[in-house]
Amino acid sequence: MRLSLPARIALCLVTIATLLFLYLPLVVVARLSFNPAKSVAWPGWSGYTTEWWSKAWESDAPREALLNSCKVALVATVIALVLGTLAAMAMTRFGFFGKDVVSFLLVLPIALPGIVTGIALQNTFSRTIDLGLFSFKVGFGFHSLVIAHATFCVVVAYNNVVARLRRSSPNLLEASADLGAHGSQTFRYITFPLVRSAMLAGGILAFALSFDEIVVTTFTAGSGFQTLPQWILANFSRPQNVPLVNVMATFVMIVSIPLAWLAQRLSDGGDTGAGR
């Protein structure tokens, strides 16, 4: 389709404007983290201080929250990867009744608003569940956060692995068995290496999703356990800490950019084994 030059220029301008729209707020936050004043008012380019950065560095609370976020995200990611990969293998290898329902169920936690998921899980975790023989209560804390986060991260791992398996030749597993490999060998030598990079990409995405989550976290975090987003949210309402919020926000952005780039590369690349 041939587009006229003005049309091309217009499209280009829209794209540039969109990129500006996406990045401007981030630049503003980064700039504010060096702002001497404590308000969200724009300083112009006059004031400049690194005081907040050194304060944030010395402050325990945000660092601990950062660490907590990493811990939750890491464990939740591992669980999500196991569950998501298993589901992906089942869904690509077999056709069965109710397959649609399963894929719907996997997507649901991420498609439903966080507040619904959050309230539902909070409601369940806070109940004493009586199974007759024994009763238990999930309760709140590190473990409840991990369960909640893993639940909505499964779909990310699943999507990545499914995409990779779908792009691979369906005959690879048969070829392996044909050459004499048992199921366990096929998994070790073929399936796992094939989906490894997709799992890594899915894992990074799941990690980011968990790391960033606030709504479900608010509802399922226990007392005495605070993730970084919780810390940030709590400190919106603490004027003294607003500059530290800017610093942590900027820090998270800086750290996540190379990760995002890596995830993108991994999910695009990789051998697909399409055969021809």
């Binding site: 969109t18 089942a90 608003p113 966080g114």
Partner: protein, 319 residues
């Protein structure tokens, strides 16, 4: 002549360091051969149990908990059944109005995202220089990683309105928009919609880009060759083929907007509870857990219906 394969297998031991699976593994592997249901069961068992028990179970419990009465003094759910919460959630005009308003906002956000995404995705996939494509896509993705609250906070700093003549020293300038271009929507509805669009835009751009990328250029050429002008080609060829991708993107823009209650808190500075998420949160905090549970049925129903509709359009293969 060739030795039979059996001899080859026997030759295994000669090589030493046999890496074949050990005996129990072999037995297990053989047990799986030809047993399709066993295979499906062991692969899907764990994830399916997790999702069914933890997630679906919780949703069911939530619905059930909407049926209990609230003790007026202690504000804890009692064990008495009542339909009052459901009645209140589904028949009171005020509630229904917020739901409609929220769905309207979610739709508006979706439409705006769509209107921005299509030209951008089209530019990136079909017009931009080949070497720049990947870079632009990654650039579109990166802000997704900046963190939800960080971005919400950024918008607060962007739209913060200017103070008036009564402002404290140094508080007159307002946020970035006010002090650089002299105009800001201020806190409120416009800021909410803009922020939501900002949040979910990449979720719409990406599937549309992927969809356009799969679209062969020859198809567009063919349409042009048959005499269609670009706009006509877009409407009659591109749009129908892109529908699944658009549907996939809209799941995110719609349902994420639908349930948000943090954005209104950040950039809405105490105007009315604009979105339904805030109402639910307010009721939950009241605390009136059963009523909040009844209220969550709204987004639950709307999103499930929306998902089913989008599934028909093939959205799930494009997520």
């Amino acid at each position: 002549m060739t030795a039979p394969a059996a001899a080859g297998a026997a030759g295994a031991s000669i090589g030493g360091r046999a890496s074949g699976p050990s005996r129990p593994w072999r037995a297990l592997n053989r047990a799986y051969h030809g047993r399709r249901r066993l295979g499906i069961g062991s692969l899907l068992g764990l994830p399916l149990t997790w999702m069914l028990v933890i997630y679906l179970g919780s949703l069911v419990l939530l619905v059930v908990s909407a049926l209990y009465e609230l003790d007026p003094v202690t504000q804890k759910p009692t064990t008495t059944f009542t339909t009052a919460n459901l009645t209140s959630a589904f028949t009171e005009w005020d509630t229904v109005w917020v739901v409609i308003r929220t769905a309207g906002v979610a739709l508006l956000v979706t439409i705006i995202c769509f209107l921005i995404s299509v030209p951008v995705a089209f530019f990136v996939s079909k017009v931009a220089w080949r070497w720049a494509r990947r870079g632009i896509v990654v650039a579109m993705l990166l802000p997704l990683w900046a963190g939800y609250l960080v971005k919400g906070y950024a918008w607060r700093a962007m739209v913060s309105p200017a103070g008036n003549q009564f402002a404290a020293a140094g508080r007159g300038g307002g946020g970035f928009l006010e002090s650089t271009i002299g105009w800001t929507p201020g806190y409120g509805r416009v800021a909410i919609v803009v922020t939501l669009v900002y949040f979910w835009l990449p979720y719409m751009v990406l599937p549309i880009y992927a969809g356009l990328d799969r679209l062969p250029v020859s198809l567009l050429d063919a349409s042009g060759d048959l005499g269609a002008r670009p706009l006509r080609t877009f409407r009659s060829v591109i749009l129908p083929l892109l529908l699944p991708s658009i549907a996939a993107g809209s799941i995110f823009t719609f349902s994420l907007s639908m349930g948000d209650y943090i954005v209104p808190q950040i950039v809405n500075q105490g105007e009315e509870r604009f979105l339904f998420g805030s109402v639910i949160n307010g009721v939950l905090g009241a605390p009136n857990q059963p009523l909040a549970a009844a209220f969550t049925l709204w987004p639950l129903l709307i999103i499930i219906l929306y998902l089913l509709a989008m599934k028909r359009l093939g959205a799930f293969e494009n997520l």
